[in-house]
């Protein structure tokens, strides 16, 4: 192992490699509930070529490699389940290019959401990217690769759908460019070429390491506003969402259900975020977005919340720091959630399942959804806070998460960024030929099976 340490130090520099107990401890876990698993080394490359050298070394030594961005996935995907090298990508955080007219940005994979957001605000104030509600140190690359979503997901879908192309280092060390950048100096699109990007999306780092990405940017309008529609009957949520998304003017549509504060208990709240370049345009959009819900207001079934400016502020914040604060609910520094991707029509059932599991597990419910595309599907989440200092409380959350993952699958949803055990549950339900194809692809790309082993594997 000493020899490997020296070789890694020769690649990235001694100050950016560690095999010390302190780094092994921190990089063995994430803030969620999954059990820790120690790496042998942590390295922080500064270039695509260094990533390449690390992978070539790992192949020679048959060492597992686990790429890591912000380390905030919460479901333990960056834990090195079989040891090996954790590759912390956050030194590769350069913003390489912003193409104003074609509205895309090329960034290194370790670029944080926060730094891209700040860079655009300063240098290209008329552009923005879709910001996830993860903390700002979450990386652009990590969030795209796990099929994340964010504040423009009603307008443009999953963050992986906003990906124009990428540069990857294959497990065997070759550097490949995917999308238009494979053929052109411009990173404008994945079409019209065969779409190889999918070989790296949703694979939990088992097929290679992304080093650069081009993502779509969108107009950043001067005025932002939010309206919150409230209804008691969750059965009505699919129709309400259908009506809102049918207007096609919102940027983000999210739902939230929680018994705290007291006034929120028993209601479904649907946030509609929209923006405009002028007050007139904002008023026009507001009226258009309210119009299809008139039926429910006339029947006194639902209505828009009165929202004074201080109450709007957290709903307009991107990322929403109040979601992070949920971790202190039990004064215990932890929460994890199941985010299940499913059709919007399943909303009422998904919500009911959340209530039942929370009751069984002795916790308060905290559920919600982000609508993806024009209501094409949603990420329905079930969040469970836990007290990190109380092993039984952590266990309670783990049980609730496992139960929720199974329930999501049973109702026809699919857990997002699933923990390794949940991946196995997905595989059990997956078409056999599909899983066989996944394994054949992995066999070709990663013949020595060094990439994040323990993930996307059957029992």
């Amino acid at each position: 192992m000493e020899e490997i340490y020296k070789e890694l130090a020769a690649i990235v520099g001694e100050r950016y490699v560690s095999n010390q107990p302190e780094e092994k401890f921190i990089y063995s876990r994430d803030p969620g509930t999954m059990e820790p698993s120690d790496p042998d080394f942590v390295v922080m490359p500064n270039s695509t070529e260094e990533v390449q050298q690390i992978l070539l070394l790992a192949n020679r030594k048959s060492l597992p490699v686990v790429p890591m961005g912000g380390g905030l996935v919460l479901s333990g995907l960056t834990r090195p389940l079989k040891g090996g090298i954790v590759v912390d990508m956050k030194r590769m955080n350069r913003i390489i290019e912003v193409n104003e007219k074609s509205r895309y940005a090329i960034v290194e994979a370790g670029t944080s959401q926060g730094m891209l957001q700040a860079y655009l605000k300063k240098h290209h104030p008329n552009l923005k990217h879709s910001v996830p509600d993860a903390p700002p140190i979450a990386t652009v690359g990590g969030n795209v690769l796990i099929h994340g979503s964010g504040h423009l997901s009603h307008a443009a879908g999953f963050h992986s759908e906003m990906l124009n192309g990428m540069e990857v280092v294959l497990p065997t060390g070759e550097i490949a460019r995917l999308g238009s950048c494979s053929t052109s100096p411009y990173w404008f699109s994945r079409a019209p070429l065969p779409d190889l990007v999918g070989l790296f999306l949703g694979w939990a780092g088992t097929t290679g390491i992304a080093t650069k990405l081009a993502i779509k940017l969108f107009p950043n309008r001067a005025l932002n506003d939010v309206a919150v529609f409230v209804v008691e009957d969750a059965e009505l949520a699919p129709d309400i969402i259908h009506r809102i998304t049918g207007v096609g003017l919102a940027e983000d549509v999210t739902a939230w259900m929680t018994p705290k504060p007291d006034w929120a208990e028993g209601f479904v709240h649907i946030n509609i975020n929209y923006s405009a370049d002028s007050k007139d345009e904002l008023a026009w959009k507001k009226n258009l977005l309210r119009a299809p819900l008139k039926k429910y207001m006339d029947e006194k079934i639902g209505g828009f919340m009165m929202l004074p400016a201080p109450m709007k502020k957290p709903f307009l914040e991107a990322p929403a720091s109040q979601l992070t604060r949920f971790a202190d609910t039990r004064k215990g520094g932890g929460f994890e959630y199941v985010g299940a991707i499913m059709p919007v029509a399943l909303f009422p059932r998904a919500h009911q399942v959340g209530l039942e599991i929370a009751e069984r597990c002795g916790t308060t419910y905290s559920t919600g959804a982000r609508i993806l595309g024009a209501g094409h599907c949603m990420m329905f989440f079930y969040a469970y806070p836990f007290n990190r200092a109380d092993a039984s409380d952590v266990k309670r959350a783990q049980v609730a998460l496992e139960e929720t993952n199974r329930a999501a699958l049973e109702m026809g949803g699919i857990p997002w960024k699933a923990e390794a055990p949940a991946q196995k549950e997905i595989i059990k339900r997956m078409d056999e030929n599909t899983f066989d194809l996944m394994n054949r692809i992995r066999g070709i790309l990663d013949p020595n099976r060094i990439m994040n082993p323990g993930n996307w594997e059957a029992d």
Binding site: P21, E22, P136
Partner: protein
Amino acid sequence: MEHSEILHRCFRCGYCKFPSNYIDLNCPSYLNARFETYSPGGRMWLLRAWLQGEIKTSPRFAEILYSCAACGNCVEHCVFPKFKDDLLNAFIAGREELVTTGAVPPAVRDYFKSIHLHGNPYKAPEADRGKWAEGLGLEPYSGHEYLLYIGCVGSFDERGQNMARSVAGLLSNLGISFGILGREEFCDGNDVRAMGERGLFEHIARMNIRKYQDLGVKKIVTLSPHAYHAFKNEYPGLGGNFEALHYSQLLAPVIRKAPFKRSEGPTRVTFHDPCYLGRHNKEYRAPRKILTAAPGVQLKEMERSENDALCCGGGGGNMFTDILGGGPDSPARVRVREAARTGAQVLAVACPGCSRMLSDAVAAESLQEVLEVVDLAEFVNRRLAFH
């Protein structure tokens, strides 16, 4: 360990790594080291693991704890209001535990030894403490309105001495009643406290308090924001109730009356907020008021200023121990590059520690031709008619 009850409540979300606009990394030790372990969240989790026996005391662990510059960026930007105020206190408490177990890094041990043996971290004879004032004709403190407290950096570091002379000269010229202690002055102990030697700090503080009380001191004006912080926030708990001011706070209300020369052309200036004046004590206006009082000054704010300022990396004892480390990503070098990007000709400072750290960084970045590090008083002195 004090504050151990909050360690598990850290989610390690990383808001603490940034300023409020997310423009760049703003935790000095994380910026330089980049391992998660060197971030505030990493430190919280490691401290908990250490107390629970999951990791052992080691040189690496001690280095991680002592690489914190005590700048308070984490306290400022943590999103958990119920325990954020004690983040830095927890790190200092962790250092106190290391002191108790005798496991501090050699450079920290040497710092404490030097304070014990010499009374200052420079291993200089205490008899030299008042040399900075030689030839200035300053009066020893004797019933003046203010005691001008200089501190170790101002007394022994060359740049600090220049700064002390500038401040004392300016106060004299403005007719402010003050006296100094000269060789009778002693270390204020703020960095001793931040480095976890609580017992030594309390001993120093009590000694100083007794001395000041015997002299009838009511008001203290300090050269260093570190001393200001100690006198204002730490000494009262030990019975030392003095009205403490940083020299910028004393100057700001009277600076407009100063006899400034006519402007010889515009001067572009940027100001580096010292952590112990800014984030720790929320004083952002006074230094800016002084700078903009001078004719022809164009104040150019850095991307990270006031409560978002990037620390120079010298706090928490790091100016002396250098545990945080150097290199292109060292906070001082990052900071002077940021200052140069504003187009400023002058990087104004209000702390002798910052002055030393940033001057060295200007040289390391070869920016001497475009950026001069100047303290507030010297900046004003150069522009006064009677200077």
